[in-house]
Amino acid sequence: MNINTTKIISLLFFIFSAFYLYTAYQIQVFAFDENAPFNARTFPIYLGYAGLFFSGLKLILPDPNTIKVDHKNLEYKKTGILILIAIIYGATILKVGYFLTTSLFLFASYYFLGERRWILMFLLSFPFVAAFMYLLHGILDIYLRDPFLQSIGVMG
């Protein structure tokens, strides 16, 4: 058997399906439902077996369409930074508020992607978010919690 990344992904999916199946068997159902033809664990159990079946087949059968990815040409660093910025965004949005966090998220993303036109970067972050926020909060009446704007008295 020729080992390639697709096979490794299939193996991971096989392990994941086995874990899913184990967890499906652990689902607690009501006592009167235990021997019913269908209960809360029936469908997940079928899914677990289906996952094992298809990933097992993919592991065993030869792979004529092997996908080769040239890792040297992939921008892991920039992608990683963008993901990190998104995680920081998620961590701060509730405490700082929508306006400041989202504007900084956009500004930082432009910067790390190599943009250096500062005025355009500013216009497409702070005023852009303000306009979007007005559309959501002011016109469509979708509540957006913002402790920062509340602290400076812009939002009620």
Binding site: L47, I87, I93
Partner: protein
């Protein structure tokens, strides 16, 4: 019926109602274009406004929003590969590659004409077939629905990625697994939540679609920035191209539109099936009926591949009104929202709606024609402006896609757990995309997961745990036989090609 049509025309052609269709189409297109904000959100936002009008006007406004949002969703599918609604996922298969080839304008024009034709033809079908179709949809039972969903999932797995059937089936299973997270619909027992309260209600559709399409697409573009093959794609993306459809393309559309509109309408009539299955089935069927030469173009910017799902999803929109208006059963999530609004007006949908409120029933059907014309008049001239989104440099477009994705999720839940979950799913999806694991089967499976379990539950309970329900009814057996034929045909074709 003639009397009904006249009543409908009189109501639909008032100045106020024409204005409502226009406002609805425009508003729907704008909202539908924003990834994460689909027709359901747009209609839900409209409900408080519609209570100021009479029921017919309110429903006409919502129908306009519905059509507009479906078209707007196609626009974001074609330009950004970020479908805002499941019904437009299949549009991105060929619409996005076409846009990458510098034919964004043409792709949008094909989508506009196909939507128009699909919607108009299905409105004609609706006019003449609504009474008898409600009887057909009544004859569908749980085993038939279950078999139909198996057929939809197999079809998408077989056709979404060439020579990658097993990978696609793995994605189908993954989608169903994601859909199983949260409370069981009948017993309320929590499953796969690992004591995390945020997962009790399950994972939202918008989150999964944003993660696997919009966010993962943005990450893939950044990841492959230095890849010579993707660099070529980026250059061609800045060319908008003409919106003119040539004679050869028109000929292809003339053949695709009628058959896709029939599929779309018939699937739309089935309660719960809706535009998603319709568009995937139309895409799958179209790929099966075209010549081998055209088949090779599927997934790479085929005119038939774009026209079929676009026709079918709009046709299904009209079809989904049949069970809502005649049976009081919504044909899709969106019509479920509309049903709620109808009940709010004090109107009880059902077979007696013809008699009790004929002006509502017929004016909605008549406003569909008007809506389609307005949608075309509104969107065709705007295509060059809409397509300019492509000219935005990647350094700005990528953060903006991420912004719309994250905002769409945050506005829905005001919860940072959903943001983390979305990032996690997007990272996994990006990695899977690198190795050619198709995402559309995952999305369709995720959408159908709950319904599939529900119908399997009913079927097994009724047959006392026996699987005989799969061949007890002729209709179920026929649908399953079609599924088996698709699988055998797919394996045979692969085997033949290898030899």
């Amino acid at each position: 019926m003639i009397e009904g049509i006249l009543i409908g025309l009189t109501t639909a052609l008032t100045f106020q109602n024409i204005l409502m269709v226009m406002v609805g189409c425009f508003f729907g297109t704008i909202i539908g274009m924003l990834p994460g904000l689909g027709p359901m959100t747009a209609i839900a936002l409209m409900i408080p406004i519609t209570y100021g009008f009479d029921p017919a006007t309110g429903l006409i406004l919502m129908a306009g929003v519905y059509y507009g949002a479906v078209f707007g969703g196609s626009t974001s599918s074609i330009l950004l590969n970020a479908p805002g609604v499941p019904g437009t996922v299949a549009t991105s298969f060929d619409g996005y590659p076409m846009a990458q080839q510098g034919k964004a304008g043409k792709a949008l024009a094909i989508a506009a004409w196909s939507s128009f034709a699909g919607g108009t033809l299905s409105a004609i079908y609706l006019l003449f077939m609504a009474p008898s179709l409600s009887k057909v949809s009544l004859s569908f039972r749980s085993p038939d629905y279950f078999a139909l969903m198996i057929l939809g999932l197999t079809a998408i797995a077989a056709f979404s990625s060439k020579g990658q059937f097993l990978k696609a089936m793995m994605m189908v299973v993954l989608g169903l697994m994601l859909a199983s997270v949260g409370q069981d619909s009948l017993s309320d027992i929590t499953r796969f939540t690992f004591n995390n309260m945020n997962l009790t209600d399950g994972i939202s559709f918008v989150l999964v679609v944003m993660a696997t399409f919009a966010m993962s697409e943005a990450l893939t573009i950044i990841l492959k920035r230095n890849d010579p093959t993707s660099a070529a794609k980026q250059v061609s993306l800045t060319e908008l191209g003409s919106i003119r459809i040539n004679k050869e393309e028109r000929t292809k559309m003339y053949k695709t539109i009628p058959r896709s509109s029939v599929i779309g309408f018939l699937i739309g009539v089935l309660p719960g099936a809706g535009a998603t299955i319709a568009s995937f089935l139309a895409y799958g069927m179209e790929r099966n009926v075209v010549s081998d030469e055209e088949k090779e173009k599927f997934g790479k910017g085929s005119v038939n591949g774009l026209s079929a799902p676009e026709t079918a999803n709009n046709a299904a929109c009209s079809g989904s009104f049949v069970p809502m208006l005649t049976l009081g059963i919504p044909g899709s999530g969106t019509t479920a929202v509309m049903l709620g609004a109808l009940l709010g007006f004090g109107v009880q949908p059902g077979p007696r709606l013809y008699m009790t409120n004929p002006e509502i029933f017929w004016s909605i059907i008549m406003s569909m024609y008007i809506g389609m014309v307005i949608l075309l008049i509104l969107n065709l001239p705007l295509i060059p402006y809409i397509a300019r989104i492509l000219a935005v440099p990647k350094n700005y477009l990528i953060p903006l896609i991420l912004f719309f994705s994250v905002t769409g999720i945050y506005v829905m839940s005001f919860n940072n757990f959903d943001i983390y979950l979305m990032i996690g799913i997007a990272v996994v999806a990006t990695f899977l995309r690198l190795y050619d694991f198709p995402m559309p089967p995952l999305i369709l499976a995720f959408v159908l997961g709950g319904l599939m379990e529900e119908n399997l539950r009913r079927s097994l309970l009724l047959s006392n745990g026996s699987w005989e329900f799969l061949w007890d009814r002729t209709l179920t057996a026929c649908i399953l036989a079609t599924t088996i034929l698709i699988v055998i045909w797919h394996i045979y074709k692969t085997f033949k090609k290898k030899n």
